[in-house]
Symmetry: C2
Subunit: 634 residues, 2 copies
């Protein structure tokens, strides 16, 4: 049920089945391939055994300050997975890991491997840099997922004890530290813990961390002074922009600093606003949302354009080749958009959620579930000395945040599909499967049959409904002008209201609504202020952004201007089944000898094939381009 300002409550991932269609095979691969691989990586790199607390001074491979979070995200993903698909091997691994984690908790409730065995004397001495509360937050999220999946309270109780201990250390009371974490995460995790346990003190601790952030005198300066260090590390910005503590959060109007941190903070702020209805928080969130989506977001839904500091830069600074657009940041944007949608049912949040999910986040993992992008460029050229990092997915990273993050996003995909509010079932994402909710106090079940986004037809069959019928609120994406609706074969008005959602009549059990979204290939332009995209055009079909790969188009893909109409073609044997876009293009013809000349280049006509951006680099390493020359005027 909605509390405070929370107007839509998501249907839990536990109650949404995702099967077949676009996502079913991807989730199956995540379960069958990615989760075991990530367990293996965590095992081989020592991340899991680290919880045995056996490391001693002089031993090799000291547990790193952020290892706990990698294991926590794996636990979270495994829990999501097990709840909807039993797997005895995974269950055994999960039980073993959880037992290790629980056993690693200290008598006072503290739970962090690095600061228990490697540098115990430095506990809480550098909140700015050392991810201690960040790791705590990820363990809390894991605990809530595990409890929700299994009903087993072991990890939940363990993390609740840790949260209680954290609550004694931090706060405004006598003898407490007025600190907060340099890498936000614990805030949204504490709200999850509050919702799972019903204990308001966790919400209040989240509120403390959010409210205290950026207060003066600045905690990170005081803390640095205690360590006899200069107040600011060089990349932190003149006022701690790097970790969003340059101002109290309610005064922040522009997205600054490390993008993942920003996304997690804004998610926590939205969670808190959902609980408290805090209008100042909401106003800040609105300003930040506008700043990100109107000036600082790639057309992939990626955010954080600079690899230097993994951060936001100035407005419209969205270079394509050097785009950082970390996978975790796009995932964070999914989180934040999802929470904004709970506060305000408005498709602009769901459209961004869908954009980031289908493009900038999904690009982070290979089709076979084995390799990962950390950075997600929009223009790739292996010849241009980028290093393999940005042009080829990797098996793992020393800083391994992205692989388990994409795993937990995919295994909890159901969470983002639907919500309940205002007596209706809201459908945000068109995902083949089943949605089981409670609407107006009664069970409401909807089977969704769709090949979206390959095809535009979405069949929603009501399997169970309240006595008065089940009104569906269906999102009409902003790009989907001309959508149509039929109920039990009869055309209905398909007009979305100001929220961007259309409302069906109350549907009885057995009724079927068919929403048809037109999936015409379309061109998209960026605001001219985005220098690198000016004079260029991007190709979409539905929510999917397309790109050109060298494999299909030869070298110089970023110089190939689409001309005229594009056609969509289903290729069942390509990339696991994919709709490609085909059309004519043209490119400038080169000449020999002199590099510069006074006659303009001639044009040659060439065929053009575009594949979904999220699926690039699944067939080898080569050039890739999203933004193509705009030959629109030709």
């Amino acid at each position: 049920m909605a509390t405070g300002a929370r107007r839509l409550v998501p249907v839990s991932w536990r109650d949404v089945t995702v099967a077949a269609g676009f996502w079913g095979p991807r989730l199956a691969t995540t379960r069958a391939v990615t989760l075991p691989l990530e367990y293996q990586q965590c095992q081989q790199t020592g991340r899991i055994d680290a919880f045995r607390l056996a490391w001693r001074d002089g031993d090799p491979n000291p547990p790193h300050i952020f290892w706990d979070s990698d294991v926590a995200k794996w636990i979270e993903a495994a829990a999501y997975s097990l709840a909807v698909q039993p797997d005895t091997a995974l269950q055994a691994q999960l039980d073993e890991v959880i037992a290790l984690v629980v056993a690693a908790q200290q008598p006072d409730g503290y739970l962090n491997v690095h600061f228990t065995v490697v540098e115990p004397q430095k506990r809480w001495s550098n909140l700015r840099d050392w991810h201690e509360l960040y790791c705590a937050g990820h363990l809390m999220e894991a605990a809530v997922a595990h409890f929700t999946a299994t009903g087993d309270r072991r990890l939940l109780d363990c993390l609740a004890r840790y949260a209680d201990y954290i609550g004694t250390v931090f706060g405004r009371g006598e003898g407490q530290r007025r600190g907060y974490c340099g890498h936000e995460e614990v805030e949204l995790a504490l709200i999850k813990l509050f919702r799972a346990t019903g204990e308001p003190r966790y919400r209040d601790l989240a509120a403390y961390f959010i409210d205290e952030r950026g207060a003066q005198p600045h905690y990170f300066d005081l803390e640095a002074a205690e360590r006899d260090q200069k107040p600011l590390a060089p990349w932190y910005g003149p006022r701690h922009e790097y970790n969003q503590s340059h101002l109290p959060v309610r005064q922040q109007t522009t997205a600054e600093g490390h993008a993942v941190r920003a996304m997690y903070l804004y998610s926590g702020m939205a969670d808190l606003a959902a609980e408290t209805g805090d209008r100042d928080l909401l106003a800040a969130l609105h300003a930040l949302w506008a700043d990100v989506t109107e000036q600082k977001m790639y057309v992939t839904g990626g955010v954080g354009s600079s690899g230097h500091g993994e951060r936001f830069t100035s407005g419209y600074d969205l270079p394509n080749q050097t785009a950082y657009a970390e996978t975790c940041a796009a995932i964070g944007l999914v989180f934040w958009a999802h929470r904004m949608l709970q506060l305000e049912p408005d498709r602009r949040y769901a459209d961004v959620l869908e954009l980031a999910l289908y493009n900038g986040a999904l690009s982070g993992i290979s089709l076979d579930g084995r390799r990962f992008f950390y950075a997600n460029p929009l223009l790739a050229d292996p010849q241009r000395h980028q290093g393999s990092f940005a042009v080829e997915r990797q098996e793992w990273f020393g800083c391994a945040c992205c692989p388990p993050n994409i795993a937990r996003l995919l295994t909890s995909l159901g969470e983002y599909v639907a919500a309940v509010g205002q007596g209706a079932l809201w459908v945000h994402l068109f995902v083949n499967g089943e949605i089981r909710a409670t609407v107006a106090g009664a069970p409401a079940t909807v089977a969704v049959r769709t090949a979206y986004p390959w095809e535009g037809e979405v069949r929603l069959q009501v399997l169970a409904a309240p006595a008065a019928g089940l009104p569906l609120r269906l999102r009409i994406p902003a790009w989907a002008a001309g959508a149509t609706l039929a109920v039990d074969g009869a055309p209905c008005p398909a007009v979305a209201d100001a929220s961007g959602y259309l409302t069906t009549p109350p549907l009885p059990a057995g009724a079927t609504a068919v929403l048809t979204l037109p999936l015409l290939p379309r061109r998209v332009w960026a605001k001219p202020e985005v220098r690198e995209d000016n004079g260029r055009v991007a190709l979409f079909r539905g929510p999917l952004l397309y790109c050109l790969e060298e494999l299909d188009n030869g070298p110089g893909v970023d110089q190939l201007a689409p001309v005229g109409e594009l056609t969509a073609e289903w290729c069942p044997d390509l990339l696991g089944g994919v709709t490609v876009l085909r059309g004519q293009g043209r490119r400038r013809v080169s000449w020999s000898g002199e590099l510069y000349r006074s006659t303009p280049p001639a044009w040659e006509e060439v065929a053009l094939t575009a594949v979904p951006y999220a699926l690039w680099q699944n067939r080898g390493v080569g050039q890739m381009a999203v933004w193509l020359p705009d030959a629109g005027q030709a």
Copy 2:
């Protein structure tokens, strides 16, 4: 007289007067402002007093390994200047500095401040990194300039002694080191020393350094092993590409590594080929010339696109905003082109020389002679976090190679104007002033009157000629189709031969040839392979590249597409008198709200004013763009 393969011998800077016109005021400023300022900087930073050898362990400000070269370039520039314009203050400074340098020479002939007072035990122990022979080379160039300017042998004899000592240390004989310098320079300097003294051993030492480069076993590896260091510093490339020792020079076909080093090496190679007629060396030079000018040279004549290693990268990798294009590298290209021209009278060398001189080199110094660019980007935006380095000229640099380098280029400008060969006087550059040469054993003097490159008329009045008359060979730049010639008012055929030079009839004293070059504004396109320039156009008039500055055009200068004809307008009060280009342009109109949309942007018409690239950033800090959207098809 031409020796070996040297087909054109430049008329010495000593015998060319540069006055009024385009260059006169710039050279006057160099003399009146830049040379005193650079003396002052060398003085204040301790570079000059370092030659007193008074530094002792524990003292502050230890003389740096490359300080000697900064002072040497200042001496060289001061000598050029004094020879054509007496200046008692400058003369006194020069005498004082030269006395210090000469006094710093060690009994064995060695002459290097750092390795005399700071790390004497490390003499010759790291040729790869420590610039020892590079400093020697610059001192030799200074000595030759000073001797040529004054007839005073003090510095020349000193450096000849040093060269003799170097010749005992390095070579293939018993007990000699088979080394060569990591930063080439001494090679071309030794050829200058050979030409000034007539001593073949200096030519032979230059030949040794050039021939030994890149031989196996690799000297820098052996040397590193002696220092117990890993063979390669990380940025040196897998095979010492950084300093062009990855292969013997005759096997090099692509320009690699640090651009200034490459230009100095290729210059030295061309000097050696001029003396020896070595065909293999010439073949390598041809391949390198094609590689640089057909794939790796900015339209400014700048080379070395990457600031990481100040180096060449792969072909067509010429990013505009991050262009390094070091001032010294453009100067080095002037040096190299000038030497190629001596080997082969062909305008393609002179055209590149002129391009680099009027654009990528000249941009390195402010109009007032007080500030310098180290990097010369083709796209500047102060908002884009580049640091002031690339968007605003600086007063000095810790690594101060560029300021004295541009000073010595400008003060020796006369050297590049004309040459003697095949019984004719060749005029490469159209510079207002006077050329005094010896042709066919007789004095030949030509007064040149021109406002080029502001105006296309070049009047060449013969003041003295051999009895049979003086044939002039006048360069017709590749862009100057439609050039006309008149002799004493009568039209003559103005057809250049295969060399790109036209030949006048033998002119008697008193005759006047008037060459008129059409200076129509023109558009230039880059090969489509240059990604950042594809779909873009650059503007030229004569040899001058133009650019748009924010000051004249408002923000978003790189988005302003020129449309239709451009007109040239002389503005006597702007930038010391400048011809600007004016025309119509158009740019895409922005919208509010969403960053991406499915309707193309509209266009707005705007007026456009372009100024010479070399003169940008003389009126404050702002955006600048060279490559503009190509609206040619509109």
